[in-house]
C-alpha cells in the first residue's frame, strides 16, 4: 500500500517466528541493520582456484603479525614515556617491574623480526608464482611500499628504549640519511628533531613508529587487500585440483601457519628460560624476551654497536666501499639500495616476458643469497674469535711483537724467503681478524655488564633520580671506576687479583703497585711480606724499590725477636681498620694492639706519622686513615703533598691539582669514583 512499507518489506525479509533463540534474534536484529552476514559471506567465501595451499599463507601471517604488533604496541604505549630522561626508565619499568611486561615486550620485539622473515617469504612466493603480472602490478607495488613501511617501523622502534644499542645504531642510520643528495642534511635534522639527539629525537621516532608509519600501513593494507580480492588469488599453475572456498579450507591453513609463527616467537622468548631450568639456574623473567642495554650515553664509546640482524647485510655492504671515502657511503647506502628497489619496482613490467620473469626470479634469489652471504660475513667477522683457535697463532703473535711489525725485520727473520714471508702475512692477517673479533666480543661482554649494572641500580629502593638513569650510572663507582682507572691509572698501576692466572703477565707490564684490594688486610699482608715488597705487585717497579720501606720490611720485620708473627698480623688488622675495610670479626683488641705498634717510634712510627704519635710530616706518608676514602682521594689529588710522598713522589701525577693555566686532570667527582671503586665501595642489592 505504502511504498515505504514495501521498501521495508524488501529490506527485512520475513523469517519464521519462534524458531530462533535469543542469540538468533539478536543476530537477525544486527544483520537487518548492518548487513554483516553478507559482509562475512563476502569476506569468507572467496573462491580459491585449485584449492587451498600452504604457499598462500604468507600474506595472512603478515596481517596476523601486524595485528599482534598493534595489540602489544598499544599496551606498551600505555606505559612508555617518550623523552631522553624517561624512555630507558619506562622501558626498564615495563621489562623488569610490571607484570607480564617482559612477555609483552618480548612478543613485540621477536614478532618484529618474524615479520621481516615473513616479508621475505611473501615476496618470494609472489615473485616465483609470477603474481605481480597484469593486472596485479599496482598491488605488487603496494606490497613493496608496505615492505618499506615495515622496515621503517623496525628501524624506528630500535631507538625507542633509548639504550646504547638503539642510540648508536640510530646515529648511524640518521647520518646515512644525511647523505641523500640536496635534502639529506635537512632530512636528518627533521628526523632527529634538531641538530642534536635528545628529547625531540625520541618523541619524533615514537610518533613515526607508532603513528605515521602504522597509519599509512593500515591505509595501504586496506587497498592491498581489496585489490587482492578484486583480482582474486593468483593460483599456482597448472591447476590440477578442484577449487575450494577460502573459508574454511584456506583459513585453516592460514590459522595453522599463524599458530606456528606465534609458537616460534614464544619459543625464542622462552628458550633461555628452558635452558636456565635445565641447568638449574633461577629464571629471571626480566632477562627474557627483548634486551635492554645500558642507557644511551653520548660520552661513552660503544664498540658493540651493530644494527638489528636483518640490517646487518647493509652494515657489511658499506664495508665493501671502505676505501672510497664519503662517496663510498653514498654509493653503498643510497645508490645501490636505491637501484635494487628500482629493479624490484620494475619487476611487473619486465615480467611481461617469460625471460623477464625468469630474470626476476633469478634476481630475487641472487638478492636473498647476497643478503645471506653479507650477513654471514658480518657474523663471521664479529664472532670469528669464538671458533678460531688463537693459540695456533702464538708464533705469529710472538714474531709480530718481537719485530714490532717491522716489514724489514720480518723479512730478515725469514731469510728474505718470499714464499715464507707471504705465508706469514696471510696468517698475520687472519690473526688480525681474530683480534678484531675478540675486541668486538669484549665490547659485547662489557655492554652486557653495563646493562645488568644499570638494571641493578634502577632497582635500588631509592629508585631512579628525576634526572634519569644516566646520572645514577655516571655516579656509580662499579661502572665508572674501571673505565677511569683504565684511562688514567692503568698505564702504570696494575689492578689484578694476584691469584688470577693472568696476574704474572699483567704485573710484568706494570710500573707501579698493584691496587687490587688496596686497603684490605690481604693487600697489607703482601706489602709486609719480605718476598713481595720489592716485587712487581708493590715497590718492585718503582723508584722506591730500594727505599727505607723495602729495607725495613726485608730486614727489620724478619727479626723474629722484635716482630712476632702476631705483631705483624696486628699491624695488618690495624691498617685494614684505618681503611674501614677490616674483615668482619676482627677482634678490637687486636686492632688496638696493632695501632700501638704502628704508632711506636721504634717501629712504623720511626718514619710514618700515625694518629697522634707526633712524627713530623715529610719523612714518609702519613698513614692515619690509610686506605680510607678521604686518604685515597687525597693521594690521588696530590701525591706530592707533604702528607704523602712529598718530594720523593715517584712519577704519579697530581690528578686533582690545577696546573698553571690548566684545569686539574680529573674532577673531584671522578677521583671520588676511583677511590670508591678501589675500596670496593658501591651499591650492592640486598642479598648479594
Amino acid at each position: 500500500m505504502k511504498p515505504q512499507h514495501q521498501h521495508d518489506q524488501k529490506q527485512m525479509p520475513q523469517r519464521p517466528v519462534g524458531s530462533l533463540g535469543v542469540l538468533g534474534q539478536l543476530a537477525d536484529f544486527l544483520d537487518d541493520r548492518t548487513g554483516y552476514r553478507a559482509l562475512m559471506h563476502e569476506a569468507l567465501y572467496e573462491r580459491v582456484p585449485g584449492g587451498a595451499r600452504w604457499r598462500y599463507v604468507w600474506g595472512s601471517t603478515l596481517v596476523f603479525a601486524f595485528m599482534t604488533q598493534v595489540i602489544t604496541g598499544l599496551v606498551l604505549w600505555s606505559s612508555y614515556s617518550a623523552s631522553a630522561q624517561t624512555a630507558w626508565e619506562s622501558v626498564y619499568y615495563i621489562q623488569h617491574e610490571m607484570t607480564g611486561g617482559w612477555l609483552l615486550r618480548g612478543i613485540h620485539h621477536v614478532m618484529a623480526q618474524a615479520m621481516v622473515v615473513l616479508l621475505a617469504l611473501h615476496l618470494m612466493q609472489v615473485v616465483i608464482d609470477g603474481a605481480y603480472r597484469a593486472p596485479r602490478e599496482v598491488n605488487f607495488w603496494l606490497g613493496l611500499v608496505l615492505m618499506m613501511l615495515v622496515l621503517g617501523m623496525a628501524l624506528t622502534g630500535y631507538l625507542l628504549p633509548w639504550d646504547q644499542k638503539g642510540y648508536w645504531a640510530t646515529r648511524v642510520a640518521t647520518n646515512l640519511a644525511g647523505l641523500v643528495p640536496l635534502v639529506g642534511p635537512s632530512l636528518q635534522q627533521i628526523v632527529v628533531g634538531g641538530p642534536d639527539y635528545g628529547h625531540q629525537t625520541v618523541t619524533r621516532f615514537f610518533a613515526i613508529h607508532a603513528g605515521f608509519l602504522p597509519a599509512t600501513l593500515v591505509l595501504m593494507l586496506v587497498v592491498h587487500l581489496s585489490l587482492f580480492r578484486k583480482h582474486g588469488l593468483c593460483a599456482k599453475q597448472p591447476i590440477t585440483r578442484p577449487d575450494a572456498m577460502f573459508w574454511p579450507d584456506q583459513v585453516l591453513k592460514d590459522a595453522v601457519a599463524m599458530l606456528a609463527v606465534m609458537a616460534v616467537v614464544l619459543g625464542v622468548i622462552l628458550m633461555p628460560a628452558v635452558r636456565a631450568m635445565l641447568e638449574g639456574r633461577p629464571i629471571v623473567p626480566g632477562e627474557l624476551g627483548a634486551e635492554l642495554g645500558a642507557p644511551a650515553d653520548p660520552s661513552q664509546p660503544y664498540a658493540a654497536a651493530r644494527p638489528e640482524w636483518y640490517f646487518l647485510f647493509l652494515f657489511q655492504f658499506l664495508k665493501v666501499f671502505e676505501g672510497w671515502g664519503a662517496s663510498g657511503e653514498f654509493f653503498g647506502a643510497i645508490v645501490v639500495p636505491g637501484l635494487v628497489m628500482t629493479a624490484m619496482f620494475l619487476m611487473p613490467i619486465l615480467g611481461r616476458w617469460q625471460l623477464g620473469h625468469r630474470f626476476n626470479v633469478a634476481f630475487t634469489f641472487a638478492l636473498l643469497a647476497g643478503i645471506g652471504l653479507l650477513t654471514a660475513m658480518a657474523t663471521n667477522e664479529d664472532y670469528a674469535a669464538l671458533w678460531a683457535d688463537r693459540s695456533s697463532f702464538a708464533d705469529v703473535e710472538k714474531l709480530l711483537e718481537e719485530t714490532e711489525n717491522d716489514k724489514a725485520k720480518i723479512a730478515a727473520h725469514f731469510g728474505n724467503d718470499v714464499a715464507k714471508i707471504a705465508a706469514f702475512e696471510v696468517r698475520a692477517k687472519k690473526l688480525e681478524r681474530i683480534r678484531h673479533s675478540q675486541s668486538f666480543l669484549d665490547a659485547v661482554a662489557m655492554a652486557k655488564a653495563d646493562a645488568s649494572r644499570s638494571i641493578e641500580l634502577a632497582g635500588r629502593p631509592e629508585r631512579i633520580p628525576s634526572a634519569g638513569m644516566l646520572e645514577l650510572i655516571r655516579n656509580d663507582a662499579l661502572s665508572q671506576g674501571p673505565k677511569l682507572f683504565a684511562q688514567h691509572c692503568a698505564s702504570c698501576h696494575a689492578h689484578v687479583d694476584p691469584a688470577a692466572p693472568e696476574a704474572e703477565a699483567v704485573l710484568a707490564k706494570a710500573s707501579a703497585a698493584n691496587l687490587h684490594g688496596f686497603g684490605t688486610a690481604a693487600w697489607m699482608r703482601g706489602l709486609l711480606d719480605p718476598k713481595q715488597v720489592a716485587g712487581p705487585a708493590y715497590f718492585g717497579n718503582t723508584a722506591h724499590k730500594e727505599d727505607d720501606m723495602v729495607n725495613f720490611v726485608q730486614n727489620d720485620l724478619t727479626d723474629a725477636d722484635t716482630w712476632k708473627p702476631d705483631d705483624i698480623e696486628a699491624v695488618i688488622a690495624a691498617m685494614a681498620a684505618e681503611a674501614g675495610l677490616a674483615a668482619a670479626g676482627t677482634a678490637p683488641a687486636v686492632i688496638e694492639k696493632g695501632r700501638g705498634l704502628v704508632a711506636d717510634g721504634d717501629r712504623c712510627g720511626s718514619c710514618h706519622t700515625f694518629r697522634d704519635n707526633g712524627v713530623a710530616a715529610g719523612s714518609a706518608p702519613d698513614i692515619t686513615g690509610w686506605g680510607s676514602r678521604e686518604w685515597l682521594v687525597g693521594i690521588i689529588v696530590d701525591p706530592t703533598h707533604e702528607r704523602f710522598y712529598g718530594d720523593s713522589n715517584d712519577r704519579m701525577p697530581s690528578f686533582g691539582k690545577a696546573g698553571e693555566g690548566s684545569a686539574p686532570i680529573l674532577t673531584g667527582r671522578q677521583i671520588g669514583l676511583i677511590a670508591d671503586w678501589l675500596r670496593g665501595d658501591w651499591y650492592r642489592p640486598a642479598g648479594h
Binding site: G101, I107, V256, M258, L259, M262
Partner: protein, 184 residues
Amino acid sequence: MTRDKTSDESAADRRGFMTKLLAVVCGGLATLPPVLAGVWMFLDPLRRRGAAATFLPVTDLASVPDDGIPRQFAVVADRVDAWTGFAAEPIGAVYLRREKGSDTVEALSATCPHAGCFVEMESQERCFRCPCHNSKFTLDGGMVAPSPSPRAMDGLECQVAKNGEIAVKWQNFYTGIAEKVARP
C-alpha cells in the same frame, strides 16, 4: 544409492565442521598470547599500593598563630612515582589551625571530599571554598549547606611534639561518599 550419498554428505559435513572448528581453535590460540600478555600488563596498576599512612613533620607550633585562622602548609615526603624516586618533595597540602590560647592543632586535608579538587581559603569571607563546584566549608571544616560535598572536610590526625614540631598523619580518602574512608 540415496542412502550412500547421504552418508557421504554427512561425512563431508563433519569434515567441514572439523575444519572450521580447527581453524577457529588455531586462530584463537595464535591470538591468545599477545592478548593475554597485554591484559596481564595493562592490569599491573591493580597490584600497586600507595605509601602507608604515616606521620609526616609539617611545621612547628610557632608557625601556626593561635587566632583560629587556618594556614596552608606543604606536606613534604620522599615519593616514588613508578621508576622515579623523589627525595623530600612536596606531596600535598594541609590546613593547620589553632584556637586562642590552645596548644592543640587541628589539621584539615586540602582535598575536597566532593571530587578531589584543592579547597582554597577565602580569608575575606572567613570560609573554605572549593573552586570546582563551589563546596563551602566553615573555618573548622564543617559543612555549609547547601553543598555539593557529601561530607565535611577531612580532618587529619595531628601530633604536637614537646619541641613544638607538628606532624600530620598523611592520608587520602575516597571522595564523593558521605563516609570518610581512607584509601589503601
